[in-house]
């Protein structure tokens, strides 16, 4: 059984017990425990079920590489699936349940897959479930979906908050083990600005577990001293519980800080995502031990040797009473010695190497441990827990030499440097024969914006495997990074440790060497996804030879640990099957994040109301207070209509239309884009921007203008006013102001940079109100001030002056067909002006109106709307706007494009009005059909509706549309099939698009 030892545990505080619950059972651990250590301390070895075969799973590692022990953590609004117990800090009240089983962890029906495993090899689903055709969707897929997946689905919205943080620095050091500390000392002493992050809550990494001395002190003492020195440096920032999630181009690093995972509900943000820009990065990310592949290596109780050691030293937890160690290198002996020292039994060390003669093997023998060289595990016995192993010769085929009873197996297959951060931005790897691992190739580092290397590795992450080498390498890395980042040279020597002799490891990938198919079907490579040695060999046999093919065919390395334990072993097995060298096979690509990071952290603060910015006009609050139904227009919110109590939106819109046509309406038009174009060459520039002539517009006058893209398509429209000799004011659509401003700047800066023109976007400087209706002049005259009579200010002119107290620029323009003044006042006066108009207008029947009323009134007048009549494929000629396209100008943006053959094609659909025969409203987006089908067998279409409304003024449906030969077919009736399921066709007659006041008399009074 696994248990808490009476003594030991350098990371726990036994005076501070913590209570938690696992699968409803109350348990106890200590401050400093991970959930894994606490569970093991309570003899909870079984923690989950595997993905495919639902086999029993216990913890196998002690850190971020853990593939098996994932739990559902928390409840309700703090529920989180797939949480690794090895990286979950224990806290009081922690609530966890195991995953991927039914009805219970102990008894899981899904385990039938295990008994059928022989029929479910890699990729079996590609070869079956194909008949009958409908069965995949209705039978097989639902079953597979249900049995796949791991954690439960959260049911409630997340109650926690998340933060983003921006940081600029010279050097980022990733990893706070002894290598990271040594690098940080070098970088910190150079004066460079340094940020060091460590994913766990403690400094020093694993070195203290392995023992030894640094600068004549114990490793723990040295770590304390190093941290103290770093804390004393103003230029160094230290952060624990912060993982580097990814390295991105040009020195961009994401830091994932788990601020309050261990103190839920304390008011702090749960996670903080650091967006860091740095000059240099040191990756002191350490190394990960590899499992060995032997039959039954997935049975709970089989663990990495280093993890067994970690649990004993760091948390005072013993995995079993009798632990068999199996290894292909010297490091495994450290576990045997540690266990022995802690008073546990180690029945044998099975060393796959032909000889075990290194100093550590000798030390083990001296401690009374039986060492068996050239031996391997033929098979692990047990179901939900190891009960023993069969021993065989590594060189043989697996005949059992002896059975050893044990309740734990510690395996060591050698170490692989963590190269993720090195590789994210293209750092290359080389194969190290001696250590049988890929390590960073310092000559092929990732490069930054200046073409120079910006990542350097430190310590075991470089492939330096002993403490002495690690310190030397890491200190040099810190020096190199700080120098490259502009730090000063340092003379002070780095930390030193005694060199230790080790016997070379042997690249043993499967054991025994000659294992047959039956054994290979029991050798796990990827524990979570249930990928075995036999699966990789099957992939190779079937031609999935590329490492990416094998990965995707078998799902090797695609689990939540992203192959941290399985990749190299899988590569080795694949290479062997293909009879090629491992470097020839190559690796799969390392992608961020290093371990999964929460979506909440990525999304940050931008949620709910502040999901995206909202732009508000000076009158915005009034609209909200009035209960307006608001619609998003770009980042603006505009009133769609102002429904009164008991009124539907539709009724409100109709009321607003009628009232504006009969009395007086007010529209908040502040969102309309307002651009000032000014300078000696402004006229020339305006003539290029607009299709019509703007340079000859008289001062004091207004003109409707069109803008096209260089590709010829209509992109924006609006009324232009000539302010003075050198100044024009351009109105754009509400959504178009920023776009058109940028468009003008682009041409001025990149094409006509010698033209003397400035453009300023004054949209937000001005509030604008459309005062519309027969009583428009009356209300303004009542407020007093400037002369707004027909004679002084005729239609399509503008004037500056005072209206009441307000500084006003008044445009006599109309988008409704009514008598209309659009009045701009400084934004600061906008709300007061609006209030004044409402108050003064009361006797004239004033009512505000919204965007839908605006749309209906313009449609009644046959005015086009950008975004309705246009969609990016429509040219002004399609809309009968030829009158607004200058024939005199040699050039304007879009002119050349409009000369192309397809643009002058008489078959282009043209704008017309449409009225249904029965007065009904045509559906939005309806298409008109012609005879027969096209080459694709689709119905021939001859037109489409672009705007369609019920006209309260005319008491019938009105529409505009683009129709083939439309203007030549006035009076013809065409058919619009419906899609509401009624299978009906709506007939509509082609007519003039101007439905109301065709001669424009009403606006011109």
């Amino acid at each position: 059984m696994s248990t808490r030892l009476a003594q030991g545990g350098r990371l726990i505080d036994r005076s501070k017990p913590k209570n938690f619950t696992f699968n409803g059972k109350r348990m106890k651990g200590y401050e400093g425990d991970t959930l894994a250590a606490a569970l093991l301390g309570e003899d909870q070895m079984l923690m989950g079920r595997s993905f495919k075969y639902h086999r029993p799973r216990g913890v196998v590692a002690s850190g971020a590489e853990e593939p098996n022990a994932l739990v559902n953590l928390g409840q309700g609004e703090r529920f989180e699936p797939n949480q690794r117990v090895t990286t979950t800090e224990l806290f009081d009240g922690l609530y966890a349940t195991s995953q991927n089983h039914w009805p219970s962890l102990e008894f899981d029906v899904g385990v039938v897959n295990n008994y059928a495993a022989r029929f479910l090899p890699a990729g079996f689903y590609y070869k079956t479930f194909m008949a009958p055709k409908a069965a995949w969707k209705h039978v097989f897929e639902p079953i597979i979906r249900k049995s796949a997946g791991l954690g439960q689905v959260p049911t409630e919205a997340d109650v926690d908050r998340y933060e983003h943080y921006y940081y600029h620095t010279d050097v980022v050091i990733i990893g706070g083990g002894v290598a990271g500390l040594a690098s940080a000392l070098a970088a910190g002493r150079s004066g460079a600005k340094v940020l060091m992050m460590e994913q766990t809550h403690h400094w020093g990494g694993r070195a203290a577990v392995d023992g030894g001395e640094i600068d004549g002190q114990s490793v723990d003492a040295w770590i304390d001293a190093a941290v103290a020195e770093l804390e004393g440096m103003e230029n160094v920032t230290l952060r624990t519980r912060m993982m580097a999630s990814g390295v991105y181009d040009h020195g961009y690093v994401l830091g994932y800080e788990r601020v309050a995972d261990h103190t839920p509900g304390d008011g702090r943000p749960r996670h903080r995502l650091w967006r860091i820009r740095t000059k240099q990065i040191v990756t002191a990310t350490g190394a990960i031990e590899r499992p060995l592949s032997f039959a039954g290596n997935d049975i709970p109780g089989v663990m990495l040797a280093s993890a067994v050691r970690d649990y004993a030293v760091n948390w005072g937890v013993s995995i079993g009473d009798r632990t068999v160690v199996v290894t292909n290198n010297d490091d495994g002996y450290r576990t045997a010695l540690t266990l022995k020292e802690a008073g546990m039994e180690v029945p044998a060390v099975l060393d796959a190497r032909a000889e075990a003669t290194g100093p550590l093997a000798e030390a083990a023998r001296a401690a009374g441990i039986r060492v068996e060289a050239g031996k391997a595990i033929a098979k692990v016995h047990g179901g939900k827990r190891v009960t023993g192993v069969s021993v065989c010769l590594q060189a043989g085929e697996g005949s059992t030499l002896e059975e050893i009873k044990c309740d734990a197996v510690a395996m060591s297959g050698g170490w692989s440097p963590v190269v993720h951060m090195w590789s994210h931005c293209g750092g290359k790897l080389i194969w190290d024969e001696a250590q049988a691992h890929f390590r960073p190739d310092p000559n092929r580092a990732p490069t930054s914006h200046d073409g120079e290397a910006f990542v350097v590795t430190a310590g075991t992450a470089s492939g330096a495997m002993s403490l002495a080498e690690t310190l030397e390498d890491a200190y040099a890395a810190g020096k190199a990074a700080s120098k490259a980042a502009g730090g000063k040279a340092i003379r002070k020597a780095g930390p030193k440790a005694e060199a230790e002799a080790e016997q070379p490891m042997a690249p043993v990938w499967i054991m025994p060497q000659g294992a047959g198919p039956q054994k290979r079907m029991k050798m796990w490579l990827d524990y979570q996804n249930d990928v075995k040695v036999s699966d990789v060999q099957l992939a190779a046999r079937e031609g999935y030879e590329s490492v990416e093919h094998t990965k995707r065919y078998t799902t090797l390395g695609m689990a939540t640990d992203q192959g941290k334990l399985s990749n190299i072993n899988g590569l080795a097995v694949l290479s062997d099957a293909l009879d090629q060298e491992i470097p020839t096979t190559g690796t799969t690509t390392f992608r961020p994040p290093y371990t999964p990071i929460s979506f909440g952290a990525i999304a940050g603060e931008a949620r709910h109301e502040i999901f995206q910015p909202i732009r508000r006009t000076p009158m915005h609050q009034w609209h909200e207070d009035a209960g307006a139904y608001m619609e998003p227009v770009g980042h603006w919110r505009r009133p769609y209509c102002y429904a009164k109590p008991g009124e539907t939106n539709e009724q409100a819109v109709h009321r607003e239309v009628l009232n504006t046509r009969e009395n007086l309406g007010l529209l908040d038009a502040s969102t309309l884009g307002k651009l000032i174009v000014k300078g000696p060459d402004a006229g020339k520039f305006m003539d290029m921007m607009y299709t019509n002539m703007m340079s000859n517009l008289a001062i004091g006058k207004c003109r409707y203008g069109l803008m096209c893209s260089e590709n010829g398509f209509l992109s924006d429209d609006g009324v232009v006013a000539r302010i003075d000799e050198e100044t024009w004011l351009c109105h754009t659509t509400s959504g178009g102001a920023d776009r058109i401003h940028a468009w003008m700047e682009e041409w001025l800066q990149t094409e006509w940079w010698d033209w003397k023109v400035y453009v300023a976007n004054v949209t937000e400087q001005l509030a604008q109100v459309a005062v519309v209706g027969p009583n428009a002049r009356k209300v303004l005259e009542k407020l007093g001030g400037m002369d707004l009579s027909k004679e002084t200010l005729p239609f399509m002119q503008w004037a500056d002056g005072k209206i009441g107290e307000f500084d006003a620029r008044v445009y006599r323009i109309s988008f409704s067909g009514e008598l209309s003044y659009e009045i701009a006042v400084p934004a600061s006066q906008g709300r007061a002006f609006w209030d004044a108009l409402l108050e003064a207008g009361e006797e004239f029947g004033v009512m505000p109106y919204g965007t839908e009323c605006l749309h209906i009134m313009r449609a009644e007048k046959g005015f086009i709307m950008i975004g309705d009549e246009t969609d990016g494929t429509v040219i002004p000629q399609d809309l009968g706007l030829n009158w607004a396209i200058s024939k005199k100008k040699e050039d304007f943006l879009g002119k050349r494009a409009q000369q192309r053959s397809h643009m002058t094609d008489p078959e282009r659909w043209k704008l017309v009005g449409l009225e249904t025969l029965d007065g009904s409203v045509l559906p939005d987006g309806a298409y008109a059909v012609g005879e027969g089908n096209n080459v694709h067998g689709q119905r021939n279409m001859i037109g489409r509706v672009t705007s369609t409304y019920y006209s309260p003024t005319l008491k019938k449906g009105i529409a505009m549309g683009l129709v083939l030969h439309g203007p030549d077919r006035m009076g013809e009736v065409i058919s619009f099939p419906t899609v509401d399921g009624s299978n009906t066709v709506i007939k509509a007659r082609i007519c003039d698009p101007v439905f109301y006041d065709k001669d424009g008399e009403k606006q011109n009074v």
């Binding site: 991105y248 181009d249 040009h250 020195g251 961009y252 820009r277 293209g426 490069t447 930054s448 914006h449 200046d450 073409g451 260089e710 590709n711 940028a742 700047e745 682009e746 800066q749 990149t750 094409e751 940079w753 040699e890 050039d891 002119k895 050349r896 494009a897 000369q899 192309r900």
Partner: protein, 107 residues
């Protein structure tokens, strides 16, 4: 996450402060040009694996358009320069050529 130096304000600008504008040094063809020239101007783009001269705007900064010589395979930025020019600066071209002798040069 690219970082480019704005040649106007001297800021090392983050990609999120910038707006990419595609190939630089396009020659505009207007009315009177051939269909081929006009199509080339509007649509044909150099899409090299390697050195690319391109336009950027420091949109959330000084608002200026500028040009950059950037490698599309390594993302190295060889240099940035103001947009008011018909071709890249000679010293920048020479610098790139020195670094990549196999590069065909600016055409």
């Amino acid at each position: 996450m690219l970082i480019l130096e704005c040649p106007y304000c001297g800021v090392m600008a983050d990609e999120t402060d910038l707006h990419g504008g595609g190939e630089a040094h396009l020659k505009r063809f207007g009315p009177g040009s051939s269909d081929d020239d006009f199509e080339t101007y509007l649509f044909h783009r150099k899409n090299p694996k390697g050195v690319h001269f391109e336009r950027w705007r420091h949109v959330s900064g000084c608002g200026k358009w500028f040009h950059a010589a950037r490698n599309t395979m390594t993302l190295e930025v060889y240099g940035t320069y103001p947009a008011q020019t018909y071709e890249p600066p000679k010293d920048l071209v020479a610098k790139i050529k020195k670094k990549h002798p196999e590069w065909g040069g600016y055409e």
